[in-house]
């Protein structure tokens, strides 16, 4: 007991000593960090350079060991038409001709000379508020610029971090909603730790007069914006900016850093990469680092820096894990990782079989089904009605309410040449699933549809519904046809 006590006291003393030392260290540390900005506002600059600006998903070269400099940023504002989704046009207002705007990379202590130019063809005055600026309006008070004119203002970046910039001209919400935002990175002295690949991703919500998918030039809808009900939630200004051949890439074993921002104007992003865990997250784009993070919250007008190593090949999916936004509104990007697999980390499917919850050896599935099935054969309208129900439960999430699919991700069933060409293939697709590249109505899709656990009758009904909707060729699929295929597949 006594020895124990002594032990404890000793440990206690040791603990106190440690605390004292660490207090001393922390005090020193705090002292230093607390005065970071104070320190860097006095750092002199050596020489001058023109800032490299890049359009997403790319970022300029790291600052490395360069000293603080006078950095000249030439930013041109352009109001221009672009594509939000397949066939959907939108008039974007941009910093540098892209949404998000050009990426600006600085190091702490740099003195930025910012030239803001408003293209002569533009209709509106604009300005810029950079969250990296210490000063009124983040620069907005000094930068209101008429079309065909230029404003210049200077600031010194004295706090490191990843910052959002945006337009703040009245009505500010509309300027942001039209795409006027981007990121400015202030690297610490010596730069961020080097990685193999760096990319620039920024989320934004968009409000169009027509519903999601309605084609043509879509004007901005003030009402929806005020109600915060976007039709599109996308990365880098469009549903297509990070998919297909525009996907970002990495090789197995590489470290990847994403500079992620959220322009809003309204929504907060639950940023997640499907199939990856963030090794490090600079929380809210600041200095604090969190490790082993699955999903990081990015506020509107905020950011995060996420680092991770890609260990296995495959396509990682970038999403806003407020998941309806991904499925229905477009917040989906892809990171394609190439290289050799590692079965220890991820095996892939190793076994496939039938799972029978109880008494599997006694019950015989096909038999049960036949006994459950009503023998009455349905009329075509009855089949369609029944099929619609099934569609709503099973197919709707990917192929969408009107069979329109999701551009570049899930192929359409409406007026689908792929579907109408071959109903046997359609039956087999529902029975056994389909993966790999297919071409539907001239567009390529490369995704996976799993096999559907439906009865012959259900498959017949849902396909009959699909074939008799949205301009398809009105094929009627009977349960016997499905049954025949199912049997053929077994043999």
């Amino acid at each position: 007991m006594i020895t124990n006590l002594t032990k404890r006291t000793k440990t206690g003393v040791a603990a106190i000593c440690c605390t004292l030392i660490s207090v001393g260290l922390t005090a020193f540390g705090i002292n230093f960090t607390k005065n970071d900005a104070d320190h860097y506002k006095k750092v002199p600059v050596e020489g001058e350079m023109i800032a490299e600006l890049t359009a997403p998903p790319f970022v300029p070269k790291p600052v490395g060991n360069r000293p603080a400099k006078k950095l000249i940023v030439n930013m041109e504002i352009k109001e221009m038409e672009g594509e939000m989704a397949d066939g959907v046009k939108y008039t974007y207002w941009t910093f540098g001709g892209s949404v998000p705007g050009s990426f600006i990379r600085t190091r702490v202590g740099d003195e930025v000379e910012f030239h803001l130019r408003n293209h002569p063809d533009n209709k509106l005055p604009h300005n810029i508020d950079l969250h990296a600026v210490t000063g009124p309006g983040g620069g907005a008070t000094s930068s209101l610029v008429a079309p065909g004119h230029e404003k210049v203002f200077n600031f010194k970046v004295i706090n490191q971090g990843l910052y959002v910039y945006h337009c703040a001209t009245a009505p500010v919400g509309m300027h942001i909603a039209n795409g006027m935002y981007g990121l400015i990175l202030v690297e610490p002295e010596g730069g961020l730790p080097p990685v193999d690949k760096e990319y620039y991703v920024m989320q934004g919500d968009f409000y169009t007069k027509g519903a999601n998918g309605e084609s043509g030039l879509q004007p901005f809808d003030m009402n929806k914006a005020v109600k915060e009900q976007p039709d599109y939630v996308v990365f880098n200004g469009s549903t297509k900016s990070l998919v297909g051949d525009k996907a970002i890439t990495a090789k197995v074993g590489e470290t990847v850093r994403l500079f992620v921002g959220n322009g809003g104007p309204n929504l907060v992003s639950s940023f997640h990469v499907i199939g990856e865990i963030f090794d490090k997250v600079h929380v809210e784009g600041g200095e604090m680092i969190n490790k082993n993070v699955q999903t990081t919250l990015i506020p509107a007008g905020g950011s995060a820096i996420v680092d991770f190593k890609v260990d296995v090949p495959g396509t990682l999916i970038l999403v806003d894990h407020s998941i309806f936004r991904t499925f229905n509104k477009g917040s989906l990007g892809m990171l394609k990782v190439e290289g050799p697999g590692d079965k220890t980390i991820y095996s892939g499917t190793t076994q496939e079989g039938i799972y029978l919850p109880e008494g599997g050896t006694i019950q015989n599935m096909p038999k049960v089904k036949t006994t459950e099935k009503p023998k009455v054969s349905l009329t075509v309208p009855q089949q369609i009605a029944a099929g619609k129900e099934i569609y709503g439960k099973t197919c709707f999430a990917c192929h969408q309410s009107e069979g329109q699919g999701i551009p570049t991700v899930f192929p359409p069933l409406a007026k689908s040449d792929f579907l109408n060409a071959n109903h046997t293939r359609a039956i087999n697709t529902v029975l056994s699933g389909l993966s790999g590249e297919v071409t539907v109505n001239g567009n390529k899709y490369n995704n996976i549809m799993t096999s559907q656990n439906l009865t012959d009758e259900e498959i017949a009904n849902v396909l009959t519904y699909v074939y008799n909707s949205w301009g398809n060729n009105k094929t009627v699929v009977k349960p016997e046809m499905v049954k025949a295929q199912r049997e053929q597949n077994v043999h």
Binding site: T91, N122, D129, A146, P147, G148, A168, P171, P219, M222
Partner: protein, 257 residues
């Protein structure tokens, strides 16, 4: 004989056209009151007296005529303090708008100084901001359509259409007073465009404590109209009198006697 008649009528048409070019038609805008977005105290209405307003914005052809009579305002001769380098930059030469511009498209890239001079040479003046806003709040049928959603949407949609400055005048709707193109073609100069202070930092202008020209009053309104009007005020706030921009033209007004 017939030939002669044709010549005669062509001649008279020419005369009429040039007369029209000299002195564009005006309509009467009756006295009334309105509450502007900015520039009034406690949301009190501002009275606008009866005045005359050009039916259309000033066109390239009309402006070319003016320059021929007042060559000191040509691109080559204008003094730098009266106009930017971009003054008439889309014109082919000093005295010709050229083939790339329609004769009846609104003249743009004109500074406030020159617009003012043009109107004075016609025995007119630029409309005041209140006169302009008052006349512009009318749609086809009523004097004040600002609460109508379709009216606001029409204006907002213009901000998304590119290069409307190249269109001829008179193709948008004719409003209650009989004027065209108040919305949907180009921005227009007013005599006191910079009398309303807008700092450029829109969020600051909303601050009630700072009492910045009653911006707060209009922001508190939820009516969509504010967005259309806000943009006009923001645009004017970004200008200086020597500025010229591709989307900015003008028309003239006159007191009613």
């Amino acid at each position: 004989m017939l030939k002669r008649t044709i010549y005669m009528s062509l001649f008279s048409m020419f005369i009429a056209a040039s007369l029209w070019a000299q002195n564009s038609k005006m309509v009467l805008v009756k006295k009334g009151a309105y509450v502007p977005l900015y520039g009034t105290v406690d949301k009190k209405p501002v009275t606008v007296n009866e005045f005359q307003l050009d039916i259309y914005p000033v066109t390239n052809a009309q402006f070319q005529d003016f320059l021929k009579k007042n060559p000191e305002y040509s691109k080559a001769k204008i003094k730098g303090i009266f106009a930017d380098k971009s003054y008439l930059s889309h014109w082919e030469s000093d005295f010709s708008y050229g083939k790339n511009n329609l004769s009846n498209a609104p003249v743009t890239n004109v500074s406030w100084f020159v617009a003012k001079k043009y109107c004075e040479c016609q025995g007119k003046r630029l409309p005041t901001l209140d006169e302009w806003e008052y006349a512009a709040m009318a749609d086809e049928k009523r004097t004040d359509a600002r609460t109508k959603e379709s009216y606001t949407k029409y204006i907002l949609s213009w901000y998304e259409k590119s290069k409307t400055y190249a269109n001829p005048v008179g193709q948008t709707f004719k409003n209650y007073w009989g004027v065209y193109d108040m919305h949907g073609l180009v921005w227009e100069w007013t005599s006191d465009f910079n009398s309303i202070f807008l700092s450029g930092e829109s969020r600051k202008d909303k601050d009630t404590d700072k009492n910045l020209f009653c911006g707060s009053g209009s922001v508190n309104a939820t009516d969509l109209m504010n967005y259309a009007a806000f943009m006009r005020y923001a645009f004017r706030g970004s200008l200086k009198a020597k500025y010229t921009t591709r989307n900015l033209g003008f028309r003239c007004a006159k007191d009613f006697k």
